[in-house]
Amino acid sequence: MQRQLREIAGPLMGLVLIWVVILALAPIARDWEAFDNVLENATGSGLFIMCCGMTIALIGNCLDLSVGSIYALVSVVVGQLLVAHVPFPLAIAIALGAGAICGIINGTIVVVTGIPTLIATLGTQMAFRGVADMWGAGVDMEQFGKSFDWFGTGLPGPLFCSVIAFGILWFILSKTRFGFQTYAQGGNEEVARLAGIPVKRNIVLIYMICGIMAGLASIVYTARVDFAYVDRGQGMELLAIAGVVIGGTSMFGGIGGVGKTVLGVMIYESIFAGLIYLHYDAFWQQVATGVVLIVAVWMDFYQRRASASRRTGVINDSKRSLWSRLRLAC
């Protein structure tokens, strides 16, 4: 317990610090509404749900850059089905299935060709978006009806979906054999293989889960805005990676968890909210995303090096983890 607390101490303090700054500089934010906004943004856009999928992907060392395109594709699929008066539970199921198929395609490409995940999913990123365009460009897909829209409206629907996504991923990662195996193969694929873990099958499964989560994220947002659109989710994969990595899940596999991702997404959305409360233009958001992504990965890198130097016993202040330095500075 203490150890887990120590692990998330850095991100937690970062979050507190951000809010101290916001509340100090923007008195207008001093009510629950500001916090509510953050929660609504994180859940309503589906970003948090997508981040849950990205968490297992990064832990299993299966980087997925195609989630933004899956988000667009699933939006088109669910839109088309609802416009054709397919009952909404069935439409949702089929749409999630589409996300799963996209993930399986990703995983199969990685396993069969053995090319780097970065390249494989960059390729499918283009391909999936092309398919979305093919099916959805120029088609009107809107006004889906109240029962479907519940999933996206206000806080309850999106929060419900987010909690479900979190719950599933938390259970998989911390309780199941497959979860243990995911950590193992993300930590060191060859050690995992020698331990009799079906590494290849798991890669396909991991991508599938990531694809389903991207699909669920898309359904929530499509319900929220009440229309489907092909150009959605451009660059969203980077937001998802940033959210996960800020929370403390490693870009290099084997370390992390969805609990951390909750913190990461909160930090990320809080920075955005702060920019708005402090009256920065919207385009600053984009700059902030880029900066946050780089800083988050840098910190992950830093931490790795720090633990490597702990192993060799070289005690060197410049290599100490950034978080621990921040902690000292505070």
């Binding site: 309780k175 054999r177 497959f178 193992a184 930590g187 331990a195 009799g196 079906p198 633990s307």
Partner: protein, 520 residues
């Protein structure tokens, strides 16, 4: 007693070096004196302070107290650059050459002879490189790419590189751990030549006690961060040396092995894999250790990996307890009861930034889970049991693998595979890089395994270990089994002769006999 700088008695002298880390005093007023032109062996168990001492000398660590004298002059060494400037060279266990460059480029990396305008003078570069190589009888072409060299040859190039910069002192950290027997002789020849012709002093760190007598002039023994004595090697008996090192009477190193059962644990029939394994057949009984030995590249590791399903093979059959098994992946191996414990603990044995608990769980996940959910309470119980049984030294089961010493890491590797409850264990170099106490503990665990009816295939390049720790020794040469010895039937030189092949054994057996003499 300061001596004149022009005729110093010691090329390097370290006086009363103190270095502490949080919670441990790694070096406690250690004195160390290195004479010009000597090979000075630094001996000690893991954690005795050998590498800390060397790191202080190299400038990687700053000592808390104490002085370093170079050529009799007090010289503070605050960074690796200072050490280089003083003519001190360090050759670590891991190779540090740029593989994509050729030998000459590597030797003069960063100090290439230049023509005007910053262009490398290739002619001089290759001429000087080959001059150095011939001078030390290193028979290599300076234009050869480093990636094509064997490990020994790369070590040689590293030494040659150290010499291009007028080294006074060369520190070799366990240089022969990666070398096979024959290559060691080449390395020793170069060392002897250098100390005689150039007056270079060597600090030589090694775990192999037999080597100490072979190459060393003097020895300094460290124990728990203190210098327990510096001796002329010819005055020091082998047993005395070990006693000093472990700080007590030597306990018996190898256990007595009991007679194995008649049942076969493992039977391999005509295993073929390309040109690497040419029709290997062998049997391991339940409760038996079969040692497989041979030179590097003879196919030991490849044999172990094939039997465990790690690598595919072309033809041949594997039987576990006389049941034929199909092997497509390590998963199949484990299901059928064969585990392979790799030699390279760091990158293949354990996931370094995962805990003992997690590492233990990985091969046993199927056994430990119901309907895909891991029974974590049972896992915790098993981990606690096995850590106590194998006396793994760690604060708790959540300790990361990388925080453990080599011996404890190996225990966790063994623990992990005990958890998988396999009938056949294939140990690849079970005690490489482990100190004498750690070795004894590993042997003890192996003995315990035998009593439970497990069959062990031990792949080792340590001939003593092969002879002392197995019921039968199988010698491999170029992918085939060339000879089998029963326990007590062979000596190290017999094994060496078989491993090399009769043709060129003559010039090596003498050296091996000397090594055996040192060890006896």
């Amino acid at each position: 007693m300061p001596s004149a700088p022009d005729s110093p008695e010691f090329v390097v002298e370290m006086r009363a070096i103190v270095k502490g880390f949080p919670g441990v005093l790694a070096l406690n007023r250690v004195n160390f004196q290195l004479r010009p032109g000597e090979v000075h062996v630094l001996l000690g168990e893991n954690g005795a302070g050998k590498s800390t001492l060397i790191k202080v000398l190299s400038g990687a660590y700053k000592a808390d107290a104490g002085d370093i004298l170079v050529d009799g002059v007090r010289t503070p060494i605050a960074s690796p650059q200072d050490a280089l400037d003083q003519g001190l060279r360090f050759i670590y266990q891991e190779l540090s050459l740029a593989k994509n460059l050729d030998i000459a480029r590597n030797m003069f990396l960063g100090m290439e002879p230049m023509r005007r305008g910053g262009i490398v003078d290739e002619k001089t570069l290759y001429a000087r490189a080959s001059e150095y190589l011939t001078r030390f009888h290193i028979d290599l072409n300076p234009a050869e790419m480093v990636s094509k060299l064997s490990v020994t040859e790369q070590k040689m190039v590293e030494i040659a590189r150290a010499l291009t910069t007028r080294a006074k002192v060369i520190v070799l950290d366990e240089p022969t751990d990666v070398l096979e027997d024959r290559s060691r002789k080449d390395l020793f020849a170069v060392i002897r030549q250098l100390k005689q012709e150039q007056g270079v002093a060597f600090v030589y760190i090694s775990h192999r006690y037999a080597e100490v007598a072979e190459i060393g002039d003097r020895v300094t023994i460290l124990r728990d961060g203190t210098n327990v004595g510096t001796y002329d090697i010819k005055d020091l008996e082998f047993n005395k040396m070990i006693e000093l090192m472990i700080g007590g009477e030597i306990k018996k190193q190898y256990p007595d092995l009991r007679t194995p059962s008649e049942e076969n644990a493992l039977r391999v029939d005509g295993l073929v894999r390309g040109r690497i394994l040419n029709g290997i057949s062998l049997v391991v009984k339940r409760g038996e250790i079969v040692g497989v030995t041979g030179l590097m590249g003879a196919g030991k590791t490849e044999l172990g990996r094939a039997i465990a399903g790690v690598d595919r093979f072309d033809s041949g059959q594997v039987y576990v307890q006389e049941k034929r098994i199909r092997l497509h992946s390590p998963q199949d191996g484990i299901r059928e009861g064969i585990a392979y414990l790799p030699e390279d603990r760091k990158s293949l044995g354990l996931i370094q930034n995962h805990s003992i608990r997690e590492n233990y769980a990985y091969p046993s996940l199927y056994r430990l889970s119901t309907l895909g959910v891991v029974n974590q309470r049972r896992l915790d119980r098993e981990v606690a049991d096995i850590m106590a049984r194998l006396s793994v030294k760690a604060p708790d089961s959540l300790t990361f693998a990388m925080q453990l010493s080599g011996g404890n890491q190996q225990k966790v590797v063994v623990a992990k595979w005990l958890g998988a409850q396999c009938q056949v264990l294939i140990f690849d170099e079970p005690t490489r890089g482990i100190d004498i106490n750690g070795k004894r503990e590993i042997y003890g665990i192996m003995e315990e395994l035998l009593e439970r009816g497990v069959g062990i295939l031990m792949l080792t390049s340590d001939y003593t270990e092969a002879l002392e720790m197995s019921h039968r020794v199988v010698v491999m040469r170029r992918g085939a089994i060339c000879r089998e010895f029963a326990r007590g039937e062979a000596t190290e030189s017999d094994i060496l002769r078989e491993a090399i092949g009769e043709m060129n054994a003559a010039d090596h057996s003498a050296g091996a006999a000397a090594a055996v003499g040192g060890a006896a």
